[in-house]
Symmetry: D2
Subunit: 322 residues, 4 copies
C-alpha cells in the first residue's frame, strides 16, 4: 500500500481539522496509507508519526485548532534540519507530503523539495487569505465571521455611548480580513496595508458623520496598515480632530472556534483534491479553488505572487457607509 | 431627482436588510430618490410607500428579517391587482422597481412588466439558493450555518446516545442547503430532491457503520426529497433495518438570525449592482454573481432554468463520511 | 487507595462532561481512584469500566454530550440486572457511585441501593430542571439559551411576515424551560403543564394584540402542556380566531451544544460536592444547590417531591408582553 | 396620571434594554406615565425626555446596548448640574427616577437626592457584578459567556501550539467576571484584585503543568489585578520561568451582544420590581435579588459595601485545573 503523510504548520486556522479528515478519509478510500505527522516540521525532523485511519479523525470536523498540533520550528530553517526531515520521510517509505498552512509552511515545502524526491503538495490554511492561486484559504471565512461578531458587539456599545471605536484585526501584510469584516460590519472606515491611509481625510469624514446624525463610528484597521496599528492611528487622528477613540484589538480569538460551513466545505474539497493531485503525479503545487473551480498552482506562485484585494468592494463600502 | 423603489417579498431571508440598505445608500449616493415599499406587492397595490434616506437604514445590516416586511399577496395574482400596483408606481413617478426575493417574487415582477413600462430589477434573496444565474442567493450562507450549528448540537446527543438521527432542513425543490450543511456537518447520508433516494442502500450502510465503529449516524434530508419527509423516510428505513430513528425538523429557525459576513457582503454588492443596472438602462434582469463576477441574467432564466447541484461535492461527501 | 465510580445516564444534557471532569479531578485531588463507567447502568451491568486520571478529562469542559455515553437500559429494570450491576461494583471494590442524570437515573440509584451496600450519590443533570432540592439542574441554562436563540431567530421571521408562531420546547411534565425561554424571548403567551391553558382567552388576546399594533405573536408551549402539543393547540386556536399559525418544534437541538458558563460552573461545584458528600459518609442523596448554597437532599425527595415553577415570574411576563 | 422616568447611565451592559422595557411596560400596566430620558444625567440636565409607551420598547429585549443611550456627564458632577437635573424633574412633574447602571450611576442618584424630593430607585446594570445587595447585576451573565466563548476559541489555538496564553478580562476593582469565566473556561490560573497574586508560585505551577502532560495553559487576569495588567504579568512571569506568553485583551466585546436568558430575566424582574418599589413609596434604594429573592438595599450600601467573591469557588478551581 502506498503511503502519504499529512501535517499542519504555522499559525492554526479553523478548518485545518476538516482538512486533515479529508486527506485521511479520502486517501484511505483511494487505497492509501495515511500518516499523521505531529507538530509540523518539528515532527518530520523528530519522527513524530502515527498511522491514521478513518476513526482517527472522527468528530473533528467541527473543532477549531488542529489535532496534529502546529509549531514554529527553528531547526527546519537549517540545512541539517531539512535533511533530517527528508530522512524521516525516506526511512518511512512516504511518497508524498500534504501540508496544510500558509506561506511559511509552503516555503518549508520548497526547502524540503531540494533534499527529498517525493511529491509535495500544499493546502492553503490561514486566516489571512493572502495566498495567490486560491480565492479563499481555509480559516478565512471563520475569522471574518468571528471579527464580525466582535464588531456587532462593539457597535452596541458605540451606539449606546455615541463614541468612535478603532478595531484592529489580524493582517500583517494583507487587508482581506479587514475588508470583509468591515463591509459586513457596516463600518465607517477600513484601513488596510494595500491602500494609502489618509489620516486627515478620515478625521474630516468622522467629523462630518456627526453632522449627518450618525450615532457611532467604527474604524477597522488591519494590524499592518501603513499608518500604524490601532494605537498609533488613534493618536494621529486625535491630533487632527480632537476626538477620543476607544480601541479594541481582537487578537487571538480570530484564530479559533468551530469553523463555518464554508471553511469545512473548502477544507473537505481541498483535502480530497490534494490527494487527487498526488494520485495524478503532481508535485510542488498548492491545491486551490478559483472562481468555483479546483485548480493547482505552483507553490512558488502561491507564495510569491501578490493576490489583489477587491478594490471595487472597498469602493462600494465607501458609498454604503454614508 | 429620479425615483426608484425597493421592496422585499416572499419568505424572508437573512441579509435582506443589508440589501435594502445597499439599494438605499448606493442609490442616494448616485443622486436618486429611493422609496421603501412595505409588505411587498401588497404595499405596491395599497400604496404603502415611504421616502427613505441614509438614516432610514442605519443599524440594520446585522438584523435578520426585513424592515420593509414581506407578505404573500393574493390580490396581486389577479390582473386587477397587478394593474393597481402599476398605477401606484406611475402615480408616484417611480422609474424602477428593485425587488429582493425568490422565484415567486420574480414571477411577480414579470407579471408587473406587462402593465407597467418602468424598469424592473430582481435581487436574489432566499435561503434555498435555487435561482439560476447566481452562484449564491442572499440568506443561503446564513441558513447553512444555522442548520450546521443545529447539526453540531445534535451530533453531541447522537454521540452520547449512539443513536441515528434524521435531520430535515428546508428545500422543497432544491437540495443546496442540505448538501452544504450535510458536508460541513460531516453527516453520514444526504438526501436531496435532485438525486434518487435508495432506502435499501442507506439502511445497509447504516448497519455497516455500526461495524466500522461509528458512534453515531446523522441523515440530513431536504424536505422535498423524493423518498418523503423525515418521518416517512424514518418509517421506510425502519422497515428495512429495524433501527429506531430520532427525528429533528429544523423549520423556521433557518430563516432568521443575524446574517453571516458572506450574506451581508453579497447583499451589499448585489443591492448596489441593481442600482447600477437601473442606471445602465437595464430591465427584466436579476442582479447576480457567478464565479466571483457580477452578472445580469434575465428574470425568465432566473426563474425557469434549473441550477445544478454540485454532484462532485456530494460524491466527495460519500468518501469523507466513511 | 479508595475507589469511586462516575457515570451518566438518561437523556444527555450540556455540562455533563464538566461534571465528570469535576468528579474525576476533585476525587483524585482528594486521593481517590476514580473509575469511569460507560453507557450508564448498561456499563455497570456489563463491566464497561475504565480507570480515569486527570488527563482523561482534558479539554472536555466545553463539550456537549457525555464522553461516558449514556443509554436507556432495559435489563437494569429487572431484579437480575440490578444484581449484576451490584456485583460489578463489589467485584471491583468500588465504594461509591456518583451518577449524573435526571429522575430516571436517580430511581435507578434507589433500586441499586437495595442490592448494594456502597454509597450512592446523585448529581442533577437534565435540561428539564424538574428535580426537587436544587434550584437548577446541569444543562438547564444551556437549553434555555439554545431555545432563546431559536426564538430570537423566529422573531425575525414573525416580524417580517407579521405572523403568529407557536414554538414547542421540551418539557413533558415541567414548564421551567418554557417559562425561562418565554420570558427572556419576550413571547406573547407561555403554556406550561403546571397551569391550566385557556384557549379562548389566548385566542382573544392574540386578536387584541393586532389592534395594539404588535407586529408579531409568539406562543411558547412546553411539549407536555395540558391543551396538547403545538399542532393540537394550533388547531384549537384556529377554531376560535381563524388565524393561521406557523409551528416550530425545537426538538433535540435543546440537548446539545457547548454548555454555558453557568452550567459548567454548576457542574464543577456539584461534581466536587458529590465527592465531598462521599468523603463525609453520605449516601442516598443528591448534590444540589439552593439559594446559592450547596445542599444534600434525599434521592427520594429529589424524585418524588414537586418543584414549583415561579408563578410570580409568569405573572410579570403577562405585564411585560403587553 | 402619575409620572416616572427611566434612564441608563455609565458603561452600557447587555440587558439594559430589557430593563427599560420592563420599567415601561410594567409601569404603564400599573397606570403610570413613563418618560424615557436620553443620555443619562446629561439628558436630565438638558431635558432630553420622551413619553414612552408599550410600542416604544418593542423588539428591544434581545438587543445589547441601550436605546436610551448613555454618557459620562461632567456637568452633573457640579452642584449647578445637579440642580438643573432636579429642575427638569420638577418642571415635568416626575415623581420618581429609575436609573439603570453601576456605582457611578448610583452615586449620581445620591447627589440628586440632595436637591430633589422625588423618589429615587436604582437598578443594577453593569458587567462587573460589583454592587453589594444583589447576587448578580444585569449584564454580568452575558459578559461571562462572551469572555468564555473567547477563552474557548483561544484554547483551540493554545492547544494547537501548546503555548501559554494570558487573557485579560474587564474588572478594575472586582474579579467576579474573571472567576466565573475562568472556572467555566477550565483555565489554569485565575488572577483577581481580591487575592494576592504570587508570581513565583504561578511560574512554578506552569512549569509543572508541562510535566503533567497539559497541552496548554491559560491564565485569566482581571484588568485590575494587584500584579498588574496582562502585559506586566507576562513580563514578571517570563523573568521567573523564561516562557513566552501570548496575550489577549478581550476589551469592549465584553460589553455588547444580545443578552443571555438570565440577563433578560433578571432585567425583567428588577425593572418591574423597581416600579413596585416606587408604588410602595420606597426611595434611595436599589432593586436587587439575593438568594433568589427580590430585595431592596439602600443605595449607600450598594455602593459602599464590599461584595465578596466566592473564595470557595476559586478553591475548587485549583483542584479542577490539575
Amino acid at each position: 500500500m502506498k503511503k502519504i503523510c499529512v501535517f499542519t504548520s504555522g499559525g492554526d486556522s479553523p478548518g485545518m481539522n476538516a482538512g486533515i479528515r479529508a486527506v485521511v478519509r479520502y486517501g484511505r478510500a483511494k487505497g492509501l496509507e495515511v500518516i499523521g505527522v505531529f507538530r509540523g516540521y518539528d515532527g518530520l525532523i523528530n519522527g513524530k508519526l502515527k498511522d491514521f485511519n478513518e476513526r482517527s479523525v472522527s468528530n473533528i470536523i467541527q473543532q477549531g485548532g488542529t489535532i496534529l498540533k502546529t509549531a514554529r520550528c527553528a531547526e527546519f530553517r537549517t540545512e541539517q534540519g531539512v535533511k533530517k526531515a527528508a530522512e524521516t520521510l525516506t526511512k518511512n517509505n512516504i511518497e508524498a507530503v500534504i501540508a496544510i498552512g500558509g506561506d511559511g509552511t509552503f516555503k518549508g515545502l520548497l526547502a524540503l523539495k531540494k533534499y527529498w524526491q517525493g511529491q509535495i503538495i500544499g493546502v492553503p490554511g490561514t486566516i489571512d487569505n493572502d495566498l495567490y492561486g486560491t480565492d479563499y484559504t481555509i480559516g478565512f471565512d471563520t475569522a471574518v465571521n468571528t471579527a464580525l461578531e466582535a464588531i456587532d458587539k462593539i457597535r452596541d456599545t458605540a451606539n449606546a455611548h455615541e463614541r468612535c471605536f478603532i478595531v484592529e484585526v489580524m493582517g500583517r501584510h494583507a487587508g482581506f480580513l479587514a475588508i470583509a469584516a468591515g463591509i459586513a460590519g457596516g463600518v465607517e472606515e477600513i484601513l488596510v496595508p494595500e491602500t494609502k491611509t489618509d489620516i486627515k481625510a478620515i478625521a474630516q469624514r468622522l467629523k462630518e458623520n456627526e453632522e449627518k446624525g450618525k450615532q457611532s463610528n467604527i474604524i477597522i484597521v488591519a494590524e499592518g496598515d501603513d499608518a500604524g496599528n490601532a494605537f498609533e492611528i488613534s493618536e494621529k487622528l486625535k491630533k487632527v480632530n480632537d476626538i477620543d477613540y476607544k480601541i479594541s484589538i481582537l487578537g487571538y480569538i480570530q484564530r479559533g472556534g468551530a469553523p463555518t460551513a464554508n471553511d469545512r466545505i473548502l477544507a473537505s474539497k481541498l483535502g480530497a483534491y490534494a490527494v487527487d493531485l498526488y494520485l495524478a503525479g503532481e508535485s510542488g503545487v498548492m491545491a486551490g479553488e478559483t472562481k468555483g473551480e479546483l485548480c493547482a498552482v505552483s507553490l512558488e506562485d502561491a507564495v510569491n505572487k501578490k493576490k489583489d484585494i477587491d478594490k471595487n468592494l472597498l469602493n462600494i463600502g465607501c458609498f454604503l457607509s454614508q
